[in-house]
Symmetry: C2
């Protein structure tokens, strides 16, 4: 386990890198950009590629001994204990349609444990970060989730990924059951829903079929904010494991699991 | 029918008023504010009340001969042909939970026809406005929707209100059918979904159980942008008519109606 004091410079490096990618994204958002469908029918734009290239170069320059796993450009140094994981644009569908609720995700894994994490949504100016045992911060302020009483769950908002994510892992029944069980379920997919969970604006986020780069920063940030992160499903195949996750206030996460009998 | 040239100063007044309410909302958003449940179980905060009071005072000062209908404070001069309609905070549930996707709606009705409309989301800096026959503008630029080919509808995003809005008018079957029929349906309720429709980021917005102040600006803005606005249901009772609406690109609105057999 890394000493927390060794994590601080790595957290600062991650924040500094994301300062630059946020500026890059804001510059290019107003311009035309190309997109194409990948083999799995998801979309990639040239902004995704430019962001990942910048982050990889910065990691290689600052931490040449660390490994890197990126959504678009694969792995380097996969044998190292410390691995940076990058999702250059989480919410590429939103970016493509000029819906400003997408962001960049960056985390450092120590083995399987995330120890640094940053989530930044440049178009709405929201950012969260955490380092293991050093706390979680949202828009510069320490985030400490207040749990809710069971009787107040009805007044919470619950964020959920798109139904197609649930279909892709044969779990659309979970989507349909939850949206019937609670009046305030909103499809706030990708990192926007996660961000709302980090600061307690939603009681929980339920998001299925994620890759490691989609979930690593969220796992750390929600735990450091006093919330819970649970993997409720794992799916192999297609090269990398997909995970079904629920994160948020402990009572709300527990309530969702009870509703879905998982 | 008012001469379009007479509308320009009224549009400018509406924009100027919303400049002030945006600033008021941004100032108060970070502070604590109180909320309470209204008789219909919806929520009102002291920000809603402060915004509506400011707008009413400004309308009375600038256009003393016009009527005013506000969500929170009722009607004045209901006999006049020209009526301003105000929703001080559209998305009070979002405001209360610090989800930044709420906004202020202001429109001028000439009889039943909206002739000026402004929709402003202060926390994400998005604003749309239109005047009858003078065009629609989103974030300062003229908005002209590109319709899509029928075969490309699958790649669109479709915005939908919360399921409880459909339940309230006994139409949850429409919510459930649409969310099954299209993979990209997202619950982007209130004015955020409307804003995405104005600029073509979503193919359409489907929103049920609206009052006149929820729909008046959108009707004008989407029509001036070259889209369509359709009322697909009306419900009386509870003091004021509620309307079920679909707005957006013509082909997508038509496709949704066909899916729902309405």
């Amino acid at each position: 386990m890394l000493d927390p004091f060794l994590l601080r410079p790595m957290l600062e490096a991650a924040i500094n890198i994301v300062d630059h990618t946020d500026a890059l994204i804001r510059d290019r958002y107003e311009m035309d950009f190309t997109h194409r469908k990948k083999a799995d029918r998801s979309v990639v734009t040239d902004i995704d590629l430019a962001v990942e290239e910048y982050v990889r170069n910065e990691i290689a320059r600052r931490f040449p001994e660390h490994g890197v796993i990126g959504e678009e450009m694969g792995s380097s140094h996969p044998d190292r204990r410390l691995q940076w994981v990058i999702d250059p644009i989480d919410g590429t569908m939103s970016l493509r349609h000029r819906i400003p609720l997408f962001g960049t995700l960056l985390a450092l894994l120590d083995g399987e444990r995330p120890v640094v994490g940053v989530v930044s949504l440049p178009m709405i100016g929201e950012r969260a970060w955490a380092a293991r045992d050093l706390g979680a911060f949202v828009n510069g302020e320490r985030s400490r989730l207040n749990d809710v009483a069971e009787g107040d769950i009805v007044d919470e908002i619950i964020a959920i990924g798109e139904r197609r994510q649930f279909t892709a892992v044969d779990r659309e029944a979970h989507f349909d059951e939850l949206i019937r069980a609670h009046p305030g379920v909103r499809v706030y997919c990708d990192c926007f829903g996660h961000m709302l969970a980090f600061r307690g604006s939603v009681g929980a986020m339920i998001d299925y079929g994620l890759r490691i780069w989609d979930l690593a920063p969220s796992r750390l940030i929600i735990e450091e904010a006093g919330g819970v992160f649970e993997i409720v499903g794992e799916h192999d195949g297609d090269g990398a494991t997909r995970y079904d996750v629920i994160l948020g206030k402990p009572t709300v996460v527990r309530w969702i699991k009870a509703q879905l009998a998982i």
